[in-house]
Symmetry: C2
Subunit: 356 residues, 2 copies
Amino acid sequence: MQADFVLLPGDGIGPEIVFQAKRVLTTVAAAFGHEFRMTEHLMGGCAIDACGNPLPDETLEACRRSHAVLLGAVGGPKWDDPRAKTRPEAGLLRIRRELGLFANLRPTKTWDELLDASPLRREIVQGTDILFVRELTGGIYFGDSGRRPHASGEEAWNVMTYSTGEIERVVRLAAQAARGRRGRLTMVDKANVLEASRLWRQVSESVVKNEFPDLQYNVVLVDAMAMHLISKPRDFDVVVTENLFGDILTDEASMLPGSLGLAPSASIGSGGPGLFEPIHGSAPDIAGQNVANPLATILAAAMMLRYSLQLEQEAQAIEAAVNKVLAAGGRTRDICGGGEYLSTTEMGDRVVQALA
Amino acid sequence: MQADFVLLPGDGIGPEIVFQAKRVLTTVAAAFGHEFRMTEHLMGGCAIDACGNPLPDETLEACRRSHAVLLGAVGGPKWDDPRAKTRPEAGLLRIRRELGLFANLRPTKTWDELLDASPLRREIVQGTDILFVRELTGGIYFGDSGRRPHASGEEAWNVMTYSTGEIERVVRLAAQAARGRRGRLTMVDKANVLEASRLWRQVSESVVKNEFPDLQYNVVLVDAMAMHLISKPRDFDVVVTENLFGDILTDEASMLPGSLGLAPSASIGSGGPGLFEPIHGSAPDIAGQNVANPLATILAAAMMLRYSLQLEQEAQAIEAAVNKVLAAGGRTRDICGGGEYLSTTEMGDRVVQALA
Ligand SMILES: CC(C)[C@H](C(=O)O)[C@@H](O)C(=O)O
Ligand SMILES: CC(C)[C@H](C(=O)O)[C@@H](O)C(=O)O
């Protein structure tokens, strides 16, 4: 098949790791007889530098016309000034909204070979396999906000809003995913305090009851979930939650495998192009040194083939190649535990070889 | 000295553990020549059962007239119906607000003897000593909220609001605490997304710059903090944050010592009576069995003497007694690691003996 992918290398280590993912995609295309057309565009700090806008119109248009978007990472201290007119994050929030990417999927799995790098004890964390589904285009991230004078100085506010429809679609997506996994769905909220959470609870319960009665369904408060993720991570299968809670909980969970450099994420919506990226940041401190771990981006490319093109076999081929390289002891610096390590390019080579 | 304490045993295991703390307070009073007058009042589910109100006026008035309030725990499945007119949590939120308890202090310390119960690896967690200061009477917990019709059904909303004054007072309190500790203050926000967080960042920076230039001060985003708490908990001294972030992060942190049954918390404000309680819940599943761990409540009583009456020596005497009992191998069921254990009453006995 033919497919158009937009690559957004972004900032920091972004270009290096996206380059390796590109090589892997080229290899897969050749091996399976596809034609993947990949074009690079500016987003993030580099786009601010080039044209004062973290998400230039030209980039957004290219994304809209594509089958899917692969993002490296955006941001860095250079663009961190709180008084700046715009910042890389603004581009990220806008692309999510513009492409209607209402669900962020983050598989959180431990790798047996790397378990000693987890901050958690092996007995607790081994075998963890959670799929987080974070609502990504609603809630307090996108509600009204502002400032007004106050007797003590100023007052600042943000509004968290959710509608029945916004909750339904993401819960449905999560429930469908649970069906294809171990059949368990956990919904996380703060219904003992927040009205928005009470609507989540009500809508979520009715979606599950009416459309997914086969699932094992439970609800957990967000503060309790922050505890359970550390104390009994194996208890969870699919976890669905609103935007802000999802931001915090998925980052907490990202520590469990002890290898941030291996975790991909997919942001998808109702049909258009999805956005695929590693969950780690732009790591400006190691940018350009050829030591960054490209595996999370490579695994994000696998998710891209799976979710955007239904190329399940090709996705599995990439995942198997990564597994093979890790099983053979291939490590980048972040996961080498002080031992020998491969450069970014060498790791790319290994995955490409394993695919061949 | 003479002091009036209100005891709010609450629900579940609350009465059993508060009873042991009461014995300890009586012992301290005798040993140091004080007169502690302690009266019990209803709050939580038991108050709903008795008079339909989780915080009866009579209880609130007694609290106002007291020097300090010691709370067991409130809540339980019996009062969990989301359609109920009122719930135990409502009493908790109201007492915080009515007594002006804008700062919740949660010391998070590991106990060397109990480290094997931590879900984190010893090398990572040993020596952790963090004081969380959570803003407790503002933000999205107390902002406007409601529902309105929406094309897809309904829309629910909550408003997160903070004023300069609300931020100043709690940051000041946290900064003062940092001065008495290792001199480090971390402020946690989500300033890359939320306007309320941007005000936090601005106000906090100016308080520290103008009044506490001697402190080492840094800011961390809430999602990053959820990661750091697990990967490098020893890096933090005092951590200050807004209400909702504090709720999630303090619960996450509560897992680190591996012994929820030992962690106390203090909610204080600008001078009136403070509220002291264990951080664990009412544990209805083990209520009335004489197996609950009373140590967190006993340590909350120590915090009460320290913060409400400046009885530092007496507070330390209690803490030393608890240390002594633990060092001698005294364990309740929750921390016995499968070995022998003491009942709630026996643990109370031990602490009382150690004090003598
Ligand atoms: C950069 C920031 C706006 C973003 C978020 O909070 O959504 C990031 O933390 C993430 O999780 O992708
Ligand atoms: C019971 C609930 C309202 C409360 C809160 O969220 O503040 C609790 O979780 C706590 O942390 O004391």
